[in-house]
């Protein structure tokens, strides 16, 4: 009983601390926006519109649709959703390929000796330089963009997976062998869980790379998408519009990373260092 009440009190105080921390963060954030508003109004530079103007433009741009579309405008369906789809689609393919190949290579003793330097070289290639190659292969459009994203995002996942799979503790290897663990269970219940912390580090890095490459590929060769809208608003000197796309990309980057972190926290909750209810 006392334990329960103690726990409740602790939870409540934790929640209180969380809320006050949260409030403080937002206060600071609001203060920063206010300073930004003031500075831009004083400077009156066309390049730097005040945030109030950016928000107004963004609201008009994204939420002017009919009620049947939850007030989302055509822009959302024509540009934002396709962009997010290509980014996440390319990333998802890179995850499947990277984890699959990485597990196979990590299990093989000699596999990495054959392809290790090759992959290190591939990883070192700045992915945007391959855009022209993918452009002639897949044409202007989603194929080229997804290919660029996959090529950029796969290496951190693959190499981290190899690393993680290699790091399975020798006592766990012996334990699994002494139970005659069949291969699927060995991979699924021992090797991959052991590699997960490293895999997640790779996933986080590759997700931000995917977002970068989504923008780059749309800046260069695309007929729609956030990057395309960003560059065309710049070319038409519509600066509040351009800023609203920049802000959207910031929100996207923040949101995608937050979701992945939440998934990671859930999947890796067995790690003593990230205990939430110790």
């Amino acid at each position: 009983m006392t334990q329960v009440t103690e726990r409740a009190t602790r939870l409540r105080s934790q929640a209180a601390a969380g809320i006050s921390g949260f409030a403080r963060n937002w206060l600071v954030f609001i203060g920063a926006v206010a300073v930004w508003e003031l500075a831009t109004r004083l400077a009156a530079s066309v390049f730097f519109p005040p945030p109030s103007e950016i928000v107004a433009t963004a609201g008009q741009l994204w939420f002017s649709g009919p009620a049947s579309q939850l007030f989302l405008s055509e822009t959302v369906f024509d540009h934002i959703l396709p962009s997010i789809g290509r980014c996440l689609g390319g990333w998802a393919i890179a995850v499947v390929l990277g984890v699959g190949l990485g597990t196979a290579l990590g299990r093989s003793r000699t596999g990495m000796e054959y392809v290790g330097p090759l992959f290190a070289f591939f990883r070192a290639i700045p992915p945007p330089t391959l855009v022209p190659v993918f452009m002639v292969l897949f044409g202007l459009g989603p194929g080229m963009q997804v290919a660029t994203i996959i090529f950029g995002a796969i290496w951190p996942i693959l190499l981290n997976t190899v690393d993680g799979v290699r790091s399975v503790d020798s006592v766990k290897v012996d334990t699994a062998r002494s139970f005659r663990t069949p291969a699927p269970y060995w991979i699924g219940m021992v090797v991959l869980p052991a590699a997960l912390p490293k895999i997640f580090a790779g996933l986080r890095l590759s997700l931000s790379i995917s977002l970068i490459l989504m923008v780059v590929s749309e800046l260069i060769g695309s007929l729609n998408g956030i990057g395309h809208q960003l560059i065309s608003s710049q070319q038409q000197f519509e600066f509040p519009l351009m800023w609203s796309w920049i802000v959207l990309l910031g929100i996207l980057g923040y949101g995608l990373n937050a979701v992945l972190l939440a998934v990671e926290r859930r999947v890796l909750r067995w790690q003593p260092t990230r205990n939430d209810d110790a």
Partner: protein
């Protein structure tokens, strides 16, 4: 010795498959020239002054950007890492700025600072500051409390504690951040050159070569050179790190 042979076998095997795929017609030769052609073009280009100028422009911009990033991020990280209220005060701003993909700022930076080398350096700095900053803050937060208590019990002053306990501890983490930033800075420099059509640099070379659509051997040669530069940077920094921080097992493991 055997692993070296296998490394070479892997590389040669890749080139053979590529060559074979083009020769058999699996990939149209016009779009993806065979490696024999790409490598000979690379060799030719490396003998030409304008190409070398482009390479130098890229590497120079990369080096300057990385230098500026270190000069900004390490002191800032030390400050934020050791003063708690400063960290809380800036957290929201940092959390807001960091997720903006640096390439999203390309159009803005082009407007504000123009299309010269300043643009790519600015963007590369913006992107490269974060890993160093976060690794530095993380390193200071991760210092073993026992270590700090021991130092405090020995009567070490606050300033000495920073230089003799905190810095040596943080150094490997900071270095890991620098390694990550080095790779990101190169991507940003080349991307900006490519997207913005800067007047010089590897990215610009690739853009010009690709504009006709018939010089794919030059495009791929540029890509190969960019890859080699990236590989040398990464491998070089890894070696330096191993040599400098032999005592620390955290090297090579990215903090975040």
């Amino acid at each position: 010795m055997r692993s070296l042979y296998r490394n070479l076998a892997g590389l040669i095997g890749f080139f053979l498959i590529w060559e074979g795929a083009v020769r058999v017609g699996l990939v149209p030769e016009l779009f993806v020239p065979p490696p024999s052609e790409v490598l000979s073009t690379t060799a030719q280009l490396l003998g030409q002054e304008p190409f070398i100028r482009d390479v130098i422009a890229t590497v120079l911009a990369w080096a300057i950007a990385l230098g500026i990033s270190i000069a900004i991020a390490v002191p800032a990280g030390l400050l934020l890492g050791s003063i708690a209220w400063l960290r809380t005060a800036t957290r929201a701003i940092v959390e807001f700025l960091r997720p903006i993909p640096s390439v999203a700022l390309i159009p803005l930076v082009l407007l504000v600072v123009g299309g010269g080398p300043e643009a790519k350096i600015t963007l590369a700095v913006y992107a490269a500051v974060w890993p160093i900053l976060f690794n530095t803050i993380y390193a200071l937060a991760e210092i073993d409390p026992v270590l700090m208590d021991t130092a405090r019990a020995c009567g070490t002053s606050r300033a000495r504690m920073l230089t003799s306990v905190a810095l040596p501890h943080a150094a490997p983490f900071v270095f890991t951040g620098i390694r990550m930033s080095a790779a990101i800075a190169l991507i940003l420099v080349v991307s900006t050159e490519y997207v913005a059509g800067a007047s010089s640099g590897l990215g610009n070379f690739i853009l010009e070569a690709s504009s006709g659509g018939t010089n794919m051997d030059q495009v791929l040669a540029g890509t190969v050179v960019a890859g080699v530069i990236g590989y040398l940077i990464n491998d070089g920094l890894e070696r330096v790190g191993r040599r400098m921080f032999r005592w620390n097992e955290a090297v090579g493991e990215a903090a975040k």
